[in-house]
Symmetry: C2
Amino acid sequence: MSNSISVNGRDFLLPTIPTVGICLDGTSWEYLAAAADHMPNLQRMIRQGAAGTAHSVVPSFTNPNNMAIATGVPPVMNGICGNYYYDPESGEEVMMNDPSFLTTGTLFAAMAEAGQELGVITVKDKLRRLLGHGMKGICFSGEKADQATREENGIDRVTTELIGRAQPGIYDPELSVYCFEAAVKLQQAHPRNLLYVTTTDFVQHKYKPEAPEAIAFLAALDRHLGELDALGMVIGITADHGMNDKVRKDGSPKVVFAETLLAAAGIGSRVILPITDPYVVHHGSLGSYGTVYLADLDQTDDARMLLEAAPGIELVLSREEAAEAFDLPANRIGDLVVLSDQHTVIGRREDWHNLSVVEEGLRSHGGLHESEVPLIINRPLKPGYALRLASGQARNYDLFDFLLNGLAS
Amino acid sequence: MSNSISVNGRDFLLPTIPTVGICLDGTSWEYLAAAADHMPNLQRMIRQGAAGTAHSVVPSFTNPNNMAIATGVPPVMNGICGNYYYDPESGEEVMMNDPSFLTTGTLFAAMAEAGQELGVITVKDKLRRLLGHGMKGICFSGEKADQATREENGIDRVTTELIGRAQPGIYDPELSVYCFEAAVKLQQAHPRNLLYVTTTDFVQHKYKPEAPEAIAFLAALDRHLGELDALGMVIGITADHGMNDKVRKDGSPKVVFAETLLAAAGIGSRVILPITDPYVVHHGSLGSYGTVYLADLDQTDDARMLLEAAPGIELVLSREEAAEAFDLPANRIGDLVVLSDQHTVIGRREDWHNLSVVEEGLRSHGGLHESEVPLIINRPLKPGYALRLASGQARNYDLFDFLLNGLAS
């Protein structure tokens, strides 16, 4: 029997020690630094293992990064470049939550196929469906922990037996902590060879790194990290993206309403904001990445110049340039891709957004300034991997390459 | 007796274990990666200690970075922002090799004052004079190893007794290796509490990272690194800057001749290229940083726009903007500061440069694309330091802060 498998052109050794990959949604180094004194287990991992900064997928959104981690490859190969895309033929905005939009299989499915015991735990159920696609094993979300069945999730009685209490609500920071606790208890009750746990960034959207609420949240996660470590697991931690304030000096959201801007110059457009999801309380669908479909392609140059000149817009690329620069599927992005700066977000038009949800401040992501994320492994690395990490060449979607192929023996 | 000293506003613990700081001139991660298989000692340091990427001083030149490392502070505080500056009052271009241009003391001088045994070894003698300024202890250059005296250098008979052979020539890559060998032999014969060794980048100017000559050079340094490690020393390695090809597709140097460009628009200027030094064979005085003194300040806006529009120019800043952005002394930079891109250098006018020395290619530095450098420590770090390094917040001139204050106990 081979001791490795090939997935999407990359080879992965089968785990010899139970291994857990963790995606801390929206958790930049700033958060880990601010909470450092309250994360003794993470500090020990950094000291005893290896830590560095990795590049995320751009757009720096949750689903593209989680799916890149799960498949080991970027959106151009796996198809997932946001929560939404626009189908010009049907004229419809299509939600990419359905696994049918995945254009490759996942490492998880392939590992299960190779006889490994897999576990995947998410906060939101929409992401569970994508991550668990085609995978035999245990895969459930905190959001619907009480509805897990053997048929659908590979496990039942999660709340009543495994964890012993009902899950918190979807907007309760405790739900991410609950998922970490579930990972520990799953590993104790039904040991997995390979486990993936991904949190949600409700806390980071709401609180700055130095806020007591953010520190308390990470301190709670750290306690469970310590438990996973004590079980002898190989642990790797990364993030899908960082998070920045997106406000003016007076605290009001700093938004470039792109459809409005273009319409004022007589340019018809549909702006797709792929951060949009049913959980709008986080961000009001406002992030630092948008993609523009133009009514008239003859106006492309004018549109580009107008957008480039707008204060807060950092980069405007053609479809081809963006596909090339960020490894995106050209058929799922617009005629232009627009990125805003560290403190600006992109909107459609004012009346399309429910701005009341961001009245008290807006922290969001999606652009280049949220695309540098931590990568931390609790074991020393092989020379080549140590060097890739130290020299800033690692991607967050190399997580399982590092965990399975990269450990010093 | 206190166990720490304060230098330029920063506190440093006295070394409790013999400690060596090393600056590998012009050695980016690309060089260390290409030579990885031939640097087993460096690989062990990375694996057992900590490694990451640090920011250099900009301009990414040798002297500003060495002096920042030696003083622990940037050019705005230590005064050294290049090899040359222009004194508008006297109308003279002034070479900043003389220690009188240093506006602060060094960590080395302060450590010696506190009773520590110091050692500083450089390749070029011009840098030896700056680094050793005001310092009691042993300080000599490879270039003038045979001329070292007890009075001037704190040691004599370097070639005849300490090393047992004459030094190679200034353009021989072996001279840097010779300095590493000298460090090992010095430590064996006259143990130092604190040692600083800095090489020269002749090899990196001439050879790409994957060239056999570059790999052989680094392999030779690595053998001596292993000897320093075997002596039980705390070792920290960084670089002053990286190195990039600065050529067109046909291999010819890609130069923006700034004085010529401005003169064509009727703008009189003097462009100072602070990379200029007596060792022009390296680079023909062509780097990616220049600073412009204008004959008529009313033409500042025009000059700025012209330079910004020149292909290959990446950034043009006013004196005030540059001083602020790069912590430079405003009185030693021009009216404008100009940075060129990864593959472009800045010249004055064609006839000023001896372009024959770069006919066969040009690799150089000075700009933003050479300002990310390795930082490697052969011991585990305290949590806060590990986090600073992993999160990309370290500066190369934090080297001795990491070595003296940052080690895990």
